[in-house]
């Protein structure tokens, strides 16, 4: 499943890069993502945000990101090492303004490391599916930031889903605009 997801991600961005319509007047930002799950870990990583006129005049933003407790709570502690591979799309209200409101859907793949064979009985892989809403601000210089709250519709249940997949999370993303046409 992880491989399928990665192939899909690369496919999506290959499409973006090769489709002329898709790249008409586009913006591509790369940056850092900081995520705090309610009552659980900090999971940090990197993300990409893409939009173009083709995407309803930049009202739709496509995103992908990777965040892990390896770069957060598990750094130098006993926190469980877990990874989130996410792709998603946002709808931007006030998309022509610097200050925007976003609402989006994400999907992806979640995994945590059981570390010892005796814990292999634990469910540690899951599909991700979440809703997200928040604020986005485009600075005068080529940077942007978003602050959002999300809700994982799939979360741990003690039976078949990973126990450290919690419902509510907060995100801060900071992007640097590396390409703009």
């Amino acid at each position: 499943m992880k491989k399928t997801l990665l192939v899909s991600l690369f496919g999506l961005f290959f499409l973006i890069e090769t489709n002329a319509q898709f790249t008409a007047n586009y913006e591509l930002g790369v940056g850092a993502r900081f995520q705090k799950t309610e009552q659980l870990y900090w999971e940090n990583g990197v993300g990409i945000d893409y939009t173009s006129d083709f995407l309803l005049n930049k009202k739709i933003h496509l995103k992908m990101s990777y965040a892990s407790s390896r770069l957060g709570s598990a750094l130098g502690s006993n926190a469980i090492k877990q990874d989130n591979y996410v792709i998603g799309a946002d709808w931007r209200f006030r998309s022509e303004k610097d200050f925007q409101i976003l609402a989006g859907l994400n999907t992806g793949f979640f995994h945590f490391d059981t570390e010892e064979p005796m814990f292999d009985v634990l469910p540690n892989n899951s599909m991700l599916f979440s809703m997200e809403t928040g604020l986005f601000y485009k600075f005068k210089f080529p940077m942007a930031a978003s602050l959002s709250v999300g809700y994982n519709l799939i979360n741990g249940d003690g039976v078949s889903k990973p126990g450290t997949l919690f419902p509510v999370f907060y995100q801060l993303s900071v992007f640097y605009c590396i390409a703009k046409k």
């Binding site: 926190a79 979360n155 997949l165």
Partner: protein, 329 residues
């Protein structure tokens, strides 16, 4: 022109403010409507306060009470202080007590957690520190009376209450515990809605659980949001302590038994405890964890349950025997 613009801006601002006030009024009234009053409690429920007799329990369940002046032989006999889970009572450890009585090789001191077995109001007003206090009081009494082989056992919420004691200086002036057993410890709840209790609690007021007929009068039926918040605080504090790491004494034995499928205490709790409770690295050893093939929460308590299988009974007896062997060897 500028004045007109200011006027328009002001009117817009007032409009936005009005809208905000309406939204807030809507939210506040929604809370008002949703906030539940206290539940209706019948006299056959534990929550009524008429079911469980505290003085009887103290006399019947606590080793410090029924062996007030221990002999040398009794002082050397292992004693387990057994702490039950959230909303439960001493009933949860009755079967271990029966096993111990049958074997005659160890004692079980069944503590009733603070706020439990009393009434809905008492439960609502108790903090997790209150829950823990009865474990501390009994431990100190046994230590003062000269018991030399003191063990602790915690099922479900009983386990984080015991883990928390390891992060304090509680044992410093007392007889050191020989070992700790945990049955289905909870560090992460299987029901993830608990993580939102701060937000949802005031709206819900309380939650209700359905008990089997054999469980009626032995567990609280109603869980006030105040107690759910206490539970969340306790397990989150424990998770953070484990995340930082709790260093164990070299000769403190720890064994965790965890059902591989558990819809109350998420099985990932066992991994967190395994990673968080550590002996000095130079000893090159870890605590014992056994993931057991069970779908029951607190699989050692079978009394009062419906649909108990032969495999459940075998597992229960195996674990009790395992605990006994560890204490008497």
């Amino acid at each position: 022109m500028a004045k007109n613009t200011d006027l328009i801006n002001m009117k817009n601002s007032i409009g936005v403010m009005k809208r905000s006030i309406y939204i807030w009024l809507l939210v506040v009234s929604a809370f008002g409507i949703s906030c539940s009053s206290d539940p209706e409690i019948s006299n056959d429920m534990l929550d009524s306060g008429f079911i469980y007799s505290i003085p009887d329990s103290i006399q019947k369940h606590l080793v410090s009470e029924y062996i007030p002046i221990p002999t040398e032989l009794e002082k050397n006999t292992p004693v387990i202080i057994a702490a039950h889970g959230y909303t439960a009572t001493t009933f949860e450890w009755d079967e271990l007590r029966s096993f111990a009585n049958m074997k005659g090789t160890f004692y079980v001191s069944q503590v009733l957690l603070g706020g439990h077995g009393r009434s809905y109001e008492d439960f609502k007003n108790a903090t997790w520190e209150d829950w823990q206090l009865s474990i501390k009081v009994e431990y100190k009494k046994l230590s003062d009376k000269g018991f030399k082989n003191i063990y602790l056992a915690g099922s479900s919420t009983g386990a984080p209450l015991i883990i928390n004691l390891l992060t304090t200086d509680f044992f410093t002036t007392l007889t050191q515990p020989k070992g700790i057993f945990m049955i289905d410890p909870i560090v992460v709840s299987s029901n993830k809605t608990l993580t939102m209790v701060g937000l949802l609690g005031p709206i819900l007021g309380y939650t209700t659980v359905e008990l089997a007929s054999g469980e009626t009068g032995k567990w609280y039926v109603y869980r006030p949001q105040e107690s759910l918040k206490q539970l969340m605080t306790l397990i989150n504090t424990t998770r953070l302590d484990l995340q930082k790491g709790i260093v164990l004494r070299d000769n403190l034995y720890i064994k965790v038994y965890k059902s591989a499928i558990d819809d109350v205490a998420d099985p990932v709790s066992a991994l967190m405890i395994y990673k968080g409770l550590k002996y000095d690295w130079i000893l090159y050893k870890n605590i014992d964890v056994e993931m057991v093939d069970s779908k029951l929460h607190v699989f050692t308590r079978l009394a009062g349950r419906e649909g108990v299988t032969a495999a459940d009974i075998t597992l229960q007896q195996k674990v009790f025997a395992d605990m006994e062997q560890k204490m008497i060897k």
